[in-house]
Symmetry: C2
Subunit: 714 residues, 2 copies
């Protein structure tokens, strides 16, 4: 009888497993599957018999659910979560919710979002304590603890203290109200505005969970190319549906503010920020918003850029515009994120110089609750850019870093590109604003100039594709952004290691194979797209695929404007002999970029126009070096393909197959890039592609004549 039960249960176990087997990636890095290492599993099981979560706020209930979900999935333990501590293996709470915790005095040095995970003796009982000043802090600590299990870490003698390095860690959704997503490559917007607020998609909660698990505490839900309708009562009511779901997870909602809204939905004749009526309109609009959503975060504004209205339409400054809004949200603790990505209608000598030129002089003029939100580089989210000269240049005004998580210029939907190395390259860059060691990180985290507010924004890569981000590995970029917003000092390697273990497996062969693949992927992409400082060579408008020949629209939207290739050579002279953009950097940096000898070769053609036979440090001519980079980039992707094939047995079949199919596309597109770029530049260099490389089989004309329709993301 027992053996029959045993058998049938065995069958149940197997089959229930089979039934949930195919993984579609929906669980992201919060994949709570049983610990693979049996020994480790039983040791965890023996040490984690019970949990106490003190407090009963909605956030505490979220913690209880997460613990139950995590323990049943990871440890196969169906544990009871108690509200008060009675010698449980884990105690979670704040000084306010637990006398034991207040007596331990371990939360004193924490910021409001920080937490401690430490092994403590409480009345002679050893217990793991997850403590914070706020419930949200304990939620962050809970996710950290679960990560220890997911990544097979020791849970003995824990002594972890974590405080976020920034106050504002935001996703920017370029989502339109019709559910299209500008530069979105993972389907359409997850915000179903039509059914909000009456139908709450369970996905909204899972979105909040995922963000909270990496410390993201804000979401700008509307596109920077904004629609004033989002500010009408009908949509504010819908927004409140989202705010209610996000609140327990410590996530505030933000909106983009269309500067002309007072005209479009307010019925005013002007949007002049110094006009009393306009100021009053915004104030009462803001009062209305906070009456519906008391913890509304504030506004993100794209003004006087790419056709968006702004204060300059009324001969006012960006500061005038930002301060009008800052005043309105200030009394509620809201902030304004005013984008520095602006350029005038007149085509300038060098677009790279404009943001600095416009904002540097305004440094003293912004109110305290205004961020200037600056992209990592001065052009536009290229595979590689030198850090933006505004970092360090603004002293009084906090800069919000804007990274792009979605891969507008990095292969869109189908290229495996791990972006942490791109983010880190900028964060670790030294501005020399206050001498050596004045890294961009220190600018962003507010420590360099002691700013009250600090933050990082990531342009979301999330859509309604089942796995959230389209490419399974694009999830790692969402994850990496969140981790770096919390702590810019983390390494790309550490983040990749965490993400791989949580998302796929702790199998060492897998980690040893796929981690390097991830870490190298961005450099490979730079190589097959725009090596040696080349930039903005993507196809017109949709930016998918190569377009070095693009020569339509305003000059500074064309590829020729940026590569400047001619019979003499290639590159954009931004040195003192050219546009002198180098002048915008602090002297140490300026001189290094300005001098072709000291300019890092990865930025060579960004700052200098050089002859085709210019001798590179490798000994190659510039032309041959270009060829080498392009061929290397394409070859790297083929190696990624082989590496991925080799771990087939170690990951879920559906996940494996998804990545495999996309890598095949990436190989083709890398070769498409390589051949298009070299054949195009060859018209000017008149030099041969070195013998050792396979020649392009198609002609330049073939590539130039390729036409595509309905490319996603526009």
């Amino acid at each position: 009888m027992k053996s029959f039960k045993f058998l049938s249960l065995f069958i149940i176990a197997i089959l229930s497993f089979l039934l949930c087997n195919a993984e579609d990636g929906y669980d992201l890095w919060l994949r709570y599957v049983p610990i693979e290492n049996a020994q480790l599993l039983s040791s965890y099981q023996s040490k984690l018999q019970s949990v106490a979560v003190t407090g009963n706020s909605s956030t505490c209930n979220v913690i209880k659910d997460e613990i139950a979900k995590g323990f049943s999935g990871l440890l196969k333990l169906d544990i009871e979560v108690s509200d008060t501590w009675d010698k449980q293996s884990i105690l979670i709470g704040t000084s306010a919710t637990s006398t034991e915790i207040s007596q331990l005095n371990i939360t004193n040095d924490l910021s409001n979002e920080g937490y401690v995970i430490s092994t403590q003796e409480i009345n002679n009982t050893k217990s793991i304590v997850i403590a914070a000043k706020t419930d949200v802090g304990t939620l962050y600590g809970t996710f950290h603890f679960l990560k220890l299990l997911q990544t097979n870490q020791s849970i003995d003698n824990l002594n972890i203290v974590e405080n976020p390095k920034t106050t504002h860690r935001l996703l920017n959704h370029w989502d339109n109200l019709d559910r299209t997503v500008e530069r979105g490559y993972a389907g359409f917007s997850i915000w179903d505005w039509h059914k909000l607020p009456d139908y709450i998609d369970p996905r909204y909660k899972d979105y909040a969970r995922a963000n909270a698990s990496i410390g993201i505490n804000g979401s700008v839900v509307s596109n920077v190319n904004s629609n004033a309708l989002i500010l009408t009562p009908q949509y504010l009511n819908k927004l409140n549906g989202l705010a209610k779901v996000f609140r327990p997870y410590g996530i505030k909602v933000y909106l983009t503010a269309r500067f002309s809204a007072p005209i479009e939905i307010g019925g005013l004749k002007t949007a002049d920020p110094l006009n009393r009526e306009v100021q009053q309109w915004w104030q009462s609009k803001v009062d209305e918003i906070y009456s519906i959503i008391p913890d509304f975060g504030g506004f993100l504004v794209k003004a006087n850029s790419e056709g968006q209205p702004g204060p300059q339409d009324y001969d006012r400054s960006h500061a005038d515009g930002a301060n009008m809004l800052a005043k309105a949200v200030g009394k509620y603790g809201g902030v304004i994120m005013w984008r520095a990505f602006v350029y005038s209608h007149e085509v300038p000598d060098d677009r790279a110089k404009q943001a600095y030129a416009e904002f540097k002089p305004l440094d003293d003029e912004f109110m305290d609750n205004v961020f200037v939100q600056t992209k990592n580089g001065a052009i536009d989210f290229q595979p590689r850019e030198p850090f933006h000269p505004l970092f360090g240049a603004l002293k009084k005004t906090p800069i919000m870093m804007e990274f792009q998580i979605t891969q507008e210029y990095l292969g869109c939907a189908t290229h495996l590109v791990y972006l942490a190395p791109l983010y880190k390259e900028v964060l670790d860059a030294d501005t020399y604003a206050k001498g050596k060691g004045s890294t961009v990180s220190k600018v962003i985290d507010g420590s360099l100039y002691n700013h009250k507010y600090s933050g990082m924004a990531g342009v979301s890569n999330i859509g309604n594709d089942r796995n959230w981000t389209g490419h399974p590995f694009a999830q790692s970029n969402w994850y990496a952004f969140g981790r770096l917003a919390w702590n810019p000092e983390l390494t790309s390697e550490k983040i990749a290691d965490e993400w791989l273990r949580m998302t796929f497996t702790n199998n060492s062969t897998f980690i040893q194979t796929v981690k390097p693949l991830m870490l190298n992927s961005r450099e490979s992409t730079v190589n097959y797209m725009t090596p040696l400082g080349l930039h903005h060579q993507m196809a017109w408008d949709h930016h998918w695929g190569p377009g070095p020949w693009v020569n339509i629209g305003r000059p500074d939207w064309t590829s020729k404007y940026y590569h400047r290739a001619d019979s003499l050579g290639i590159g954009f002279d931004r040195s003192s002999t050219g546009s002198n953009a180098t002048e915008q950097y602090f002297p140490e940096v300026r001189d290094r970029f300005n001098n072709v000898e000291t300019c890092p070769e990865e930025f060579l053609l960004w700052f200098h126009h050089l002859p085709w036979d210019y001798k590179m440090k490798s000994g190659n001519s510039l032309w041959n070096e270009l060829c080498e980079k392009y061929y290397q980039g394409a070859a790297d992707v083929q190696q990624m393909q082989r590496d991925w094939d080799s771990i087939e047995a170690l990951v879920d079949e559906e996940q494996y197959d998804h990545v495999k199919q996309l890598l095949a596309i990436q190989v083709n597109e890398a070769i498409w890039w390589r051949n298009s770029m070299l054949l195009y530049f060859q018209q000017y260099s008149k030099l041969p592609i070195p013998e050792k490389y396979e020649k392009p089989t198609k002609s330049l004309e073939y590539y130039q004549n390729l036409k595509f329709h309905f490319v996603p993301g526009i």
Copy 2:
């Protein structure tokens, strides 16, 4: 030791179950969860120990996978599927693949897609035989057999013979190449054209599975408001990616043909169907398509309708246009589905009469492989319409029925409306074309006039929402369409019963509660939207919500054109004293509709304009009857809400909650409809809403001033 294993396995069992517990509806009616009735389960298990699937075509492999999936899920049996019969409990195959089956002589009377499921003695062994003439027939039989288990039927002494009543059972996708879906309310198109054919979303296969399980054998993947790009090599190559996935499931791909394609992508000056060059262009285009997709199904064409180009642009007839295309696809066995939903630019006296007027005279002119595809009613997919007068009127030309599965005029995304009763009302209607019993079903299945081709098309309600159709119950309309296309004689009750058991549970309380809820839902919707023959009263353009006041655009696109309400009364006089649309029906039907005494009251205001005090059969005045219907409709939805609440414990929590939230929306919208319509008509009737009813709390102006943006589906 054993007991420890026992325990841990027990935990695995429980937890693996927990992990897959929350159901998102993705599995549709192919939900293979363990049979709830333990006794029945073990009896199935004992009778179904082994299966033989003979043959090794790709379709046979699909059958093997489905059997394995079904048995492991439903019966918790991990069985081996053998290729040859050796006393297995089930034998699946054709005369060609199994000598045992050929010796049984049970497939002789089957059509190519038919199948037999019968208990047979083979060499003194009892076995369940699933046999057909073709592999696809056996696939259909396999799904039928699995359904027996899902719905807890006996599998003893089986003797089932099934032949589809129609040859063409198609879904029409109104999907655009940018992935928007015209009249789509379940997200966006599941066709990811950008990534096709290189990335094959697993969803394509699940789409094919679901359709094959209900006998659908064709998919028109592009919108009838067509884009010629779909006919270019780039897109045909992408289409082939879908065709390869669909083929093993017996599903052919079809396209919509934009009539002006020879000009737009062919570079010709004309698209005149009698022009030699145009004919040659289409022939070579068709040759190209079949060289890529040898089993391409054919074209669906919307011509000279709502601005679409067509043969009339060149003073040619619809037959000239259809025959040109029919000739091109004919040699490959392809068909043309030419839509009868046409109307001229001039506004007619009665739009309801146009399709008949244009197509009846052409009956002798179409080639054999042309369908005239006709909507169920003469207007446009209203909650209720009398059957289209073309049914039975065309004798030589087969009519393809076009039903709308997506709920353009039936609440769009959020109303629970089971459409089988709507479909059946039309299919069971008697045209009297060849005397009594000449039902629309007999026209559609080709039996009335002995047509070689017969078929039914359903305008798809499928999108990339996780559960395919947005509203969980909208899945039942996809299911019902497929079942009725296979056999128009099935009852709404039988289809609802099958679907509920397969999708939710066999629990008798659940079935007894929810089946009537489904069966009544369409009549309730008619009542709160457009009772007593009212029609086309929806809001302008997006058709979501009430708009009896709509009075913009061409007259026959306005609500006033259709309700004709005035101080004297309400209704569209289509009798012999009016537009005389009744004349288009055969005498028995004509006379019944024409005479206000014999006209069914559900069509009263469709055919007659009557005074507000007209005495209804109930004894009510027309005005009071209208009030009663509207209040009844809204009250019914509140009852649906109570009924759904009562079965909470019997269904998955996520599924339950999804429906519960949508029913709350439906209640509000039913009241919105009721109040808007009655307050509007009251302007003309000048009569009070009877005392017994709660008065509308909002004014007519309030409802008229409601504005909505970005309503899905346009």
